[in-house]
């Protein structure tokens, strides 16, 4: 390793957290953040693209309806996997995660197809959460 090669930015971190406004315009930021972490963890291009798509679908589902609050994207590298969680935080409004809108249903179906079972938490307190894991095995 040279002086300029400091190694992966993920070394020494147990989790990565991004808090952004719960608005469609910030979906790009969520994707960029997730892709940067995934790149540091050594995921290949195709799996990074899958992760970006999964994060985008989760973000869209959590923030649909234009929450006033914020969304939190968390990524936790674990042994052999990356645990991802997207939470909408809006104490003033609560809404169901699963909407009847075709786009959102399609998004959840796609998300499940990409990452498998989803961890869904929607207790009506204004903090709907979608979680999933992606494999880090090469």
């Amino acid at each position: 390793m040279t002086d300029t090669d400091v190694g992966p930015a993920t070394v020494g971190y147990t989790g990565f957290v991004l808090e952004i406004p719960a608005h469609a315009n910030y979906a790009t930021d969520a994707r960029i953040f997730a892709a940067a972490v995934a790149r540091d963890l050594g995921l290949d291009h195709e799996r990074i693209e899958d992760l970006k798509l999964a994060v985008s679908e989760a973000f869209a589902n959590v923030v649909h309806g234009g929450l006033v609050g914020c969304a939190v994207l968390e990524l936790f590298p674990e042994t052999g996997r990356l645990r991802v969680r997207v939470t909408g935080i809006d104490p003033g409004l609560s809404h169901p995660l699963r909407e009847t809108a075709d786009d959102l249903d399609r998004g959840l179906d796609l998300l499940e197809a990409l990452v498998g079972p989803l961890e869904v938490s929607d207790d009506g307190d204004g903090t709907p959460t979608l979680g999933f894991c992606v494999s880090l095995d090469r």
């Binding site: 469609a24 790009t28 960029i32 798509l53 985008s56 998004g107 796609l110």
Partner: protein, 115 residues
């Protein structure tokens, strides 16, 4: 982190309107496509080709806008044809199996030849 807005270029070629998209087609930009395609349907533009080869990212919301646009055009007797290479659009169409339902071509020229 900067947001790169979706660019939409429109071109009239013979009896086709070609929309060339560049950038991310997601929940933030899907409304732009919804509006553009419903405008074309209202104008009774019957043959629309959406070129997705320069789309850098597309999710289900983006896909939904294309599906809505297709429905709007078909309601007035029109068609919506897609152009997608090996990029994200083709990948999503394949993942969702919509490539079997949506007429999709590798190039605009091939899409224009389709009758």
């Amino acid at each position: 982190m900067a947001l790169e807005p979706l660019q939409i270029e429109s071109e009239l070629l013979d009896d086709h309107v070609i929309l060339r998209l560049q950038g991310d087609l997601d929940m933030a930009s899907s409304t732009d496509i919804d509006l553009r395609l419903s405008d074309l349907a209202n104008q009774r533009i019957y043959r629309v080709i959406v070129d997705l080869t320069s789309v850098t990212f597309i999710d289900s919301m983006g896909l939904g806008s294309l599906i809505n646009g297709r429905k709007a055009l078909e309601a007035v007797g029109g068609t919506l044809t897609l152009v997608a290479d090996d990029g994200p659009a083709r990948r999503l169409l394949t993942l969702t199996k919509l490539d079997e339902a949506f007429p999709t071509f590798d190039t605009v020229e091939a899409a224009r030849r389709e009758r």
